[in-house]
């Protein structure tokens, strides 16, 4: 199927507005879906496609059914925008969400049921023609993603997504890090409170690199000071120093002997001094 003009009617079946606004965004200068021939239709009578957002609540079900029935008999493409329309999303088993009687409200089936598919299936059971359904997941999908989905419906791009089924044959790796695994995990957890989950991987990687290189606590401290000098971002510096203190604390706790790269200090007070220094440095 190759359409050069696509009038889309927008059907909100209980969405949170995120997808709607992104759908609007697709029409605006940066994305400009009109260059693909896409326009928002004022009435389902004009529409070749129905852009559906939302998990299909029971109150919208009847109206949405009317809307799809009001479309011309063909092509009736359905563009399910957003995770909710694809499968019910986070709301999938709420009490006002529509599910066909045979669709489980809790279940282990996959792909997960829910969303607009329930309505499409009902309509097909009634003998109404409903065209293909393009699923565009995302919460909300980026405008690019919607464009991609629409382009897919128009036959302008190739499908890229592919289901995967891995088994044990894929192989198993237990990656080894320069520092002990349980300390790494503790540090990783601590870092979440300092810089958040997203930036922690990179910082931890850098830290482990330094920790692997360092032969002693002093060297580690020097390396970290170096690193902070090279990297002017105060937040990363702070994180590194927190890591250093935490690392030393954990080493202290678990005993220095086991799986150690950085050598234990000679004096007992060493670790404390580092900590004091860090406090001064972060100001």
């Amino acid at each position: 199927m190759k359409l050069r003009s696509l009038y889309i009617f927008h059907l909100d079946t209980g969405a949170c507005n995120g997808c709607e606004i992104e759908l609007f965004d697709v029409l605006t200068p940066y994305y400009d879906a009109e260059r693909l021939g896409v326009r928002l239709a004022a009435s389902p009578r004009h529409a070749h496609a129905m852009a559906v957002t939302g998990p299909l609540t029971r109150q919208t079900y009847y109206a949405a059914k009317e809307a799809i029935k009001a479309m011309p008999p063909k092509p009736r493409i359905i563009v399910a925008i957003g995770t909710c329309a694809c499968s019910g999303g986070i709301f999938y088993n709420g009490y006002p969400i529509y599910r066909r009687p045979e669709s489980p409200r809790e279940g282990q089936e996959y792909p997960r049921r829910g969303g607009i598919f329930e309505l499409v299936q009902d309509l097909r059971d009634e003998g109404e023609y409903v065209g293909p359904v393009v699923y565009i997941p995302g919460c909300p999908p980026r405008p690019e993603e919607i464009l991609y989905g629409v382009a897919l419906a128009l036959g302008l791009v190739e499908k890229r997504a592919k289901g995967e089924h891995y088994t044990e044959e894929a192989g198993f790796e237990l990656p080894e890090y320069p520092i002990e695994e349980r300390i790494r995990l503790s540090l990783r957890e601590r870092l979440k409170y300092v810089v958040g989950y997203f930036d922690r991987e990179g910082i931890l990687r850098d830290f482990m690199e330094l920790a692997g290189k360092a032969e002693s606590v002093e060297e580690l401290h020097r390396l970290i000071e170096d690193y902070c000098l090279r990297n002017p971002d105060s937040r990363i510096s702070l994180a590194m120093r927190v890591l250093e203190r935490e690392f030393l604390r954990l080493k202290e706790k678990y005993g220095w002997e086991v799986g150690m790269n950085a050598k234990a200090p000679q004096g007992e007070v060493r670790g404390v001094q580092v900590a004091v220094k860090r406090d001064a440095g972060s100001r």
Partner: protein, 691 residues
């Protein structure tokens, strides 16, 4: 030969009066028989019209005289008369076919014989008005016409509003129409001194003063419903049974135009001042009438206001014609006058048809309130079709007849090279859109959409009613597509007035018309061919229909944006149409509030005597009884929004309040009223014959 045909017409009408008297016990039979005879009479009148055409086109009038023993009635049938004969014949035929079934609707009133008597007398009087050539007889028949039409109008006399409209009509006609005519008659009689001296030929030789222009303008203007003397019309026409409304609107007010042209142009001289007056009155009339019509939601009242508006077009055309003739553009003036007369014929046909259609709707649904009608196109397909043709005609859409006459009026005004007339033409063009708006409303509210609770049980009207309407619809198409079938006839009055040869100015070949303006650059005039238009349009429509066949396989629900809405609520009602526009011209509608006080004051000081008559009558009425007085108060109380037209007419209203109460009392008893009317008629006749 032609004379005998005319006599046959008269005899058939008289016969119908006689025949029904023995049949009066049987309501249906008497009306059917009566209308068969009137139908035959109409056919014979049409035959007379067609037969006389060759002579009349050559400029020869048909003249004959009926000698009644006590008096002689001279007849003079020229082009102008023949145009009216055509109108009366075709409308008479249509109503005769239509009425027998339609009058079943009024069976509860009984008195079938009286109806037929009045109907025949009414039509016959109009025929005699337009053919007689003696001013006395003219006035006499005029009065007969007024009386009969009044009695027909209040046929439904158990309705309050009918009686009210009736006395409004009766009083206005006598004060503003008959009175000026009788005054002029008296003055002329005084001048000539004999009944024979009142022959039109004779009168034309007199040099009459400007007072006659005024008297005739008032006399015929009020009958024709020209602003500001139109206020009776929108009440009167809807009050009558629809077939009578068709005659009132289609024929009676046209007779006034005939009277105007006959008197002012043929007896008096066409002058520039007269022409401008008529044209401006016409413009004001068409503007006011149509803009009021835009607001109406009562089917027949809407049509009645349009009668006012369309009369404005006729007056504009005639006025432009008179002006141009007087200014020395005889040929072009004749064309403009022909345009006005063309619209006269057309208006008679499509307005007759529209009233008959409104009657059909009334017949089946028992309502004329457009707010509650709907969906009739599905139930009454032929009525819908005929109404559509009539609506498109009156809105002036090609290729229907209304377009042709309006087109000629525009040409006559726009090309006159006279700023004032051009302005009149612009207003006509604008009002044409308003007419369209009004009829879009009329057609779509009654016939569009899905049937409502009021209309869902309606069905198509009986075939005889359809035939009557179909005949008129056919004429709409005929005069639209083949204008040359009638234009030569329409040009004869102009020719007779100016005596010039019009070849080269307007030419008619088969169905083609071309017009030349006085100062138009020479050469390059080509014909307007309605058939070419129909052909192009038809070919395109058919071609598209073949490429994109249009066959619904199944019907889906109307899109209500997802949430169901009841069909009866999901529709704009007639009163909602054009709201913002009406709101904007609100000032025009309700300027009356401010004007009424002022108008009353001025008029009361100007016409003290006039009012003292009313006061005397009021005093008399008080004696009749206090409960009767309440009617007058009712009128005051219920006229919450005083329209501009009524404000202008406030002296009349004052007068009518008094007169009306008297007549109100009388009209409560129909027999009494009838007796009174007959007595008045008899007295007048005696007076006239005695002179």
């Amino acid at each position: 030969m032609m004379e005998e045909l005319f006599t046959l017409t008269v005899i058939l009408y008289l016969l119908s009066i006689l025949v029904v008297l023995p049949l009066r016990k049987n309501y249906r039979a008497s009306i059917t028989v009566g209308h068969v005879l009137t139908g035959l009479a109409s056919i014979s009148l049409l035959a007379f019209t067609v037969g006389s055409l060759p002579d009349v086109l050559k400029g020869k009038a048909i003249e004959f005289t009926y000698n009644l023993g006590v008096a002689e009635i001279p007849f003079h049938v020229d082009g102008l008369s023949l145009i009216l004969c055509l109108v009366l014949g075709s409308l008479g035929l249509a109503t005769s076919i239509y009425s027998p079934r339609y009058m079943e609707f009024y069976e509860r009133f009984g008195r079938s014989w009286l109806y037929v008597v009045l109907y025949s007398a009414f039509v016959l009087s109009m025929i005699l008005i337009v053919t007689t050539s003696n001013f006395l007889w003219f006035v006499f028949f005029w009065e007969v016409m007024t009386f009969t039409s009044y009695l027909l109008m209040i046929w439904e006399n158990d309705e309050e509003y009918v009686r009210k409209a009736g006395w409004k009509y009766f009083v206005t006609m006598h004060v503003a129409s008959t009175l000026p005519l009788i005054i002029s008659l008296a003055m002329l009689y005084a001048k000539t001194g004999s009944v024979n001296g009142l022959d039109f030929d004779n009168l034309a030789t007199l040099h009459l003063g400007p007072i006659y222009y005024v008297l005739f303008l008032i006399g015929f203007g009020s009958k024709a419903g020209v602003v500001p003397l139109h206020f009776w019309l929108p009440d009167a026409h809807p009050a009558a049974p629809s077939n009578v409304s068709a005659l009132l609107s289609g024929a009676m007010i046209k007779v006034a135009v005939y009277g105007l042209i006959r008197t002012t142009c043929f007896i008096l001289r066409p002058t520039e001042a007269l022409g401008y007056t008529v044209a401006i009155l016409g413009t004001v009339t068409l503007t006011v009438g149509t803009l009021y019509a835009l607001k109406q939601t009562d089917a027949k009242r809407l049509l009645a206001y349009h009668s006012v508006g369309q009369m404005g077009y006729i007056w504009l055309g005639v006025g432009a014609g008179i002006t141009l003739i007087a200014k020395g553009y005889p040929a072009f003036g004749a064309i403009a006058m022909a345009a006005g007369l063309y619209h006269l014929v057309n208006h008679a046909i499509f307005k007759g048809l529209l009233f008959l259609s409104a009657g059909s709707v009334l017949y089946r649904t028992h309502t004329r309130d457009l707010n509650v009608l709907g969906g009739l196109a599905k139930l009454m397909p032929f009525t819908a079709l005929f109404t559509f043709i009539a609506a498109m005609s009156i809105a002036g859409e090609p290729p229907f007849n209304g377009f042709m006459s309006k087109w000629m009026i525009y040409q006559g005004t726009f090309l006159s090279g006279d700023g004032l007339l051009v302005f009149c033409g612009i207003m006509a063009l604008f009002i044409s859109a308003a007419t369209l708006a009004s009829f879009v409303k009329f057609y779509t509210t009654a016939f569009g959409g899905t049937p409502t609770t009021t209309t869902e049980k309606a069905e198509e009207v009986p075939s005889s009613m359809l035939i009557g309407k179909g005949f008129l619809a056919f004429l709409c198409l005929l005069f639209g597509l083949v204008p040359s079938s009638i234009i030569p006839l329409l040009l004869t009055p102009g020719k007779a007035l100016t005596g010039v040869d019009l070849s080269g100015w307007i030419s008619t070949k088969y169905w083609l018309v071309t017009i030349r303006a006085p100062r138009m650059p020479a050469g390059g005039e080509t014909y307007f061919n309605p058939w070419l238009f129909v052909g192009v349009l038809g070919v395109l429509v058919v071609a598209m229909l073949i490429s994109y066949p249009n066959r619904p396989k199944r019907i889906v629900k109307v899109w209500t944006t997802g949430e169901p809405v009841k069909a009866e609520h999901y529709k704009l009602r007639a009163m909602h149409y054009y709201g913002p526009f009406e709101e904007y011209i609100h000032g025009l509608y309700h300027g009356g509030d401010a004007l009424s006080g002022w108008g009353t004051y001025v008029c009361s000081s100007l016409a003290g005597g006039y009012l003292s008559l009313g006061r005397t009558l009021l005093r008399w009425a008080e004696k009749v009884g206090k409960d009767v007085l309440s009617t007058g108060r009712w009128y005051e109380k219920n006229g919450k929004e005083i329209y501009l037209d009524e404000a202008v007419a406030s002296p009349f209203v004052q007068l009518m309040k008094g007169l009306g109460i008297a007549i109100e009392e009388v009209s409560l008893s129909y027999d009494l009223l009838l007796m009174l009317a007959a007595a008045t008629l008899g007295v007048m006749m005696l007076i006239l014959l005695g002179w």
